[in-house]
Structure formats: structure tokens, C-alpha cells
Amino acid sequence: MDSFILLRFGDTGWGDEMLRAAIVTILVSLSAMAIGLLVSVFATMSKLSSNGFIRSIGNTYTTVVRGIPELLVIYLLYFGANNAIMGVAKKLFGYNQYIELPVFLIAAIAVGIISGAYSTEVLRGAFLAVPKGQIEASKSVGMNKFLIFRRILIPQVMRYALPGLGNVWQLTLKDTALIMVTGLVEIMRQAHIASGSTYSPFTFYITAALLYLVLTTASSRVLNSAERWANKGVRRA
């Protein structure tokens, strides 16, 4: 089979390149998920704030980012981030040189902003799912805000949010395919390059599809066992 020859490892085939690209995909997804979680903690706090203005910032973020295509968010950051940073550097520090952020960073931030918007909705739901009585009870035994957050909210929010965050992870993983437009060599870009130079697009795109399937299946296994672990203290009927 010609296809298998093309996918051989070493200098004669593209197998090792595809695997390396898969590792890049995993790294971008992990970084994006981390960035997204960080963003979503602040966005959730802002969405649950009692101040109308702060609340509208969080609401605008989730509405806008979930309402425009992921591809546009990535394009906007890819083309806009360097200019924005150069503009800021010029205004604040009088720095006039050309600045170029590494593509990996831009990709991780772009996908992170997208995944953050979805994580925010998940976290918000999880926070609201904690029964009010528990917070009242912890207040009545004299816990302060920080202690309530650490002892009552966080442990339960983490458990409630886990299935939703698992879904966000799967979305994030698939969204990284779009960063091929930035030129970062992840699975899709590598498949594109390989099919361009071998004239065997089907072979490489089906390989890409299989790699994504392996990644999503493996992560759903891990997520399932994480959920089991998080719920082991919960009494079930």
C-alpha cells in the first residue's frame, strides 16, 4: 500500500512528523485550556458580581466570543496581537522596534480566549449549583468569605464543573485544528504540508482525523475516571 509507505517513520515517511505534530496539538490544547481556565475564573467572578458594570464586562466577553466564529477570533489575534503590543510598547515605553510574539503563544492565547468563554459558563453554572443553605450555614458557624470560598465553594464547584469542563476540553482540542491558518505546525498544518508535497491528501487528512479521534477518545477515558474520582464521596441511591 502506497499510503503506508508515506506514513513510515524516519526520513522516508511522514509518520514521525505527524506524531510530532500531534504532540504540538496536545501542548497547544493544554496551554489554551490553562489560559482559558485562568481567564474564566476572573470572568466568572465578574459575571457573578453585584456591580452592574463589572457584570456587563463578563457578559460581553462570553457573548461576543461565543457568538463569532472561532476562525475569526484566531485571525483577529494572529493579525492584531503583534500590532496591539507594539502600539502599547510605543505609547508606554517609547519602544519603536518590531515585536513579534511566538506563533505558539498567539495560538494558545487565541484558543484560550475561546475556551475561556465556554469555561466561564460552566463555572458560573457550577457556582450557582452550590445550595444557598450551605453558604448560610458556613456563615453562621463564623467562616469568613475566604474560608467559605476555600472550604465550601471550591471543593463542590470543582465537582459540579468537571463534566462541563471535560466538554470544553474536547472543544478546545478540536479548535486547535483551526490554528493551522497561523502556520503553527500542528496536526492539520502537518497534514496540509504532507499532502501538498506527496499529492496524497486523503491519506494524510484521514491520518489527521484518526489522530484527533485517538486524542478525543483517550481524553474522554481520562475525564470519565476523573469524574468517578471526584464523585467517590457522593452518596447515590
Partner: protein, 248 residues
């Protein structure tokens, strides 16, 4: 005052963005809206029919049908839409027997490949939504319908489908928004919908941030309208729930 004059009355630059250019290119970008909506509507429609079949296969007791439906959903939900589009548009051209067959005029066109990919993709997600809706119908309702002698198509038409439809509506609204966003990906296979036109304008004037911002606003407006339609449909199909909300 016509539109061109209006654009010229705006400041040339604001916050480092070329405002006049943004204004001037808005009509061109809006020219992509019909194709975007066409792609969404066609693929949602065919995708829904396909999904209905897949969902029924999934809940059927026939193991063979069940496995087919399961693997279909597994593949299309587990891989990115972009891979699916590229596999159909670029991938199939690898095979000479396809190039020589009667289906080639179909697969040669980016338009049909785009529609096929979007349709197959949305069918997988919609099948899961429909399955969720069908399984959410309380068993008591089915039992009581059977008790008064309904069966088969009548049971589906009068009891199961209406309840399932109402249950699935919010999730299907999300899927519609995902599809509107998904159509932007077919710009990568040369289709000139909103994102495609945006890329074309950018290649000419090299003002990526401005043009993509305008395109983003257009998508936001479309998605806002979609959410309003869904909201209206939700109220329309369960007015008594709205009444309950108000009197609570």
C-alpha cells in the same frame, strides 16, 4: 445622505483603526450573508432529516443499525469540522476512480463539498440532541397514551414528538449557532461567504483587524437573531410555562 457620504463623514482613524475603510467595506461583507445563510439552512435541513434517521437507528433494538449510528456520531463528533471539510474537498481527489465517475462534477465544486461536510457534521450533533429529546419523554406519558389505545405513528405524532421537540429546542438552538459559526470554515476551501469575502478584501488592502472586526459584528448580529428566533419558538410551543413563570 447616502452611505458613501456617511462613511466619509466619519473620522479617518479611531483607536488606530481605519474607520472609513471599515464603513466602506461593510456592504461588501454583507454581500456574503446570503451565502452564509444558504449554507446554514440547507445543511441544517438535510442534516436534521439525516439526524432523525440516525437517532431512530440509535434507539432501535437492531444491533447492526445501532452500531452504524454510534460509529457515525463517534467519528463526526470526535474530529474537527475542518478535517471533515478537507477530507471531502481535497481528500477525495486522490482517488482516480472518483475523478472518473459520475459523482466527480459534484465533488469538484467547493460549494457542494462544503454543504456535504456541514450537513454530515450537524447530523451527528443533531442526532444526539434528538436522542436526548426522545429519551426525555416521561414513560408515564407513553404508558397513558397506550392505555387509551394510541400506538405507532399516532403515539409518535401526538405524544412523543411534541414533548421531545420542546425538550430538544434549547440544545438545537445552540447547534444552529454552531452551524452559523461553522460556515466560516468553508472560506478555507475558496467559498466566498462572509469570512471568504473578508479574506479577499484583506488580501487587497491589508487591513486584517478592521475587516475581521466588521465580519465578527455581522456574525454576532446573525447569531443574535438566531437566539431570538429560538426564544420565540420556546415561548410559542410552551406558552403555559411562560404563564407559570409570570404568576410564580
Amino acid at each position: 445622505m447616502n452611505f458613501v457620504d456617511f462613511c466619509e463623514s466619519l473620522p479617518n482613524e479611531f483607536l488606530g483603526l481605519k474607520v472609513q475603510l471599515m464603513c466602506n467595506s461593510t456592504p461588501k461583507l454583507l454581500g456574503g450573508v446570503p451565502l452564509t445563510i444558504e449554507l446554514v439552512l440547507i445543511s441544517l435541513l438535510i442534516g436534521f432529516l439525516l439526524a432523525l434517521g440516525l437517532a431512530l437507528m440509535r434507539i432501535s433494538k437492531n444491533r447492526f443499525l445501532n452500531v452504524i449510528s454510534r460509529s457515525y456520531v463517534f467519528y463526526f463528533r470526535g474530529t474537527p469540522l475542518l478535517v471533515q471539510i478537507f477530507l471531502i474537498y481535497y481528500g477525495l481527489a486522490q482517488f482516480d476512480f472518483i475523478k472518473e465517475s459520475f459523482v466527480w462534477p459534484f465533488f469538484r465544486e467547493a460549494y457542494w463539498c462544503g454543504i456535504l461536510a456541514l450537513t454530515l457534521n450537524t447530523a451527528a450533533y443533531t442526532a444526539e440532541i434528538i436522542r436526548g429529546g426522545l429519551q426525555s419523554v416521561p414513560y408515564g406519558q407513553i404508558e397513558s397514551a397506550r392505555a387509551i389505545g394510541m400506538s405507532g405513528i399516532l403515539l409518535y405524532r401526538r405524544i412523543i414528538l411534541p414533548i421531545a421537540f420542546r425538550q430538544a429546542l434549547p440544545a438545537y438552538g445552540n447547534e444552529m449557532i454552531l452551524m452559523v459559526k461553522g460556515t466560516s470554515l468553508v472560506s478555507t476551501i475558496t467559498l466566498m461567504e462572509i469570512t471568504g469575502i473578508a479574506r479577499y478584501i484583506i488580501a487587497k488592502y491589508w487591513t486584517p483587524v478592521e475587516i475581521f472586526l466588521v465580519a465578527g459584528v455581522i456574525y454576532l448580529v446573525i447569531n443574535f437573531l438566531v437566539t431570538q428566533i429560538i426564544k420565540y419558538a420556546e415561548i410559542r410551543f410552551t406558552p403555559y410555562l411562560e404563564h407559570a413563570k409570570k404568576t410564580r
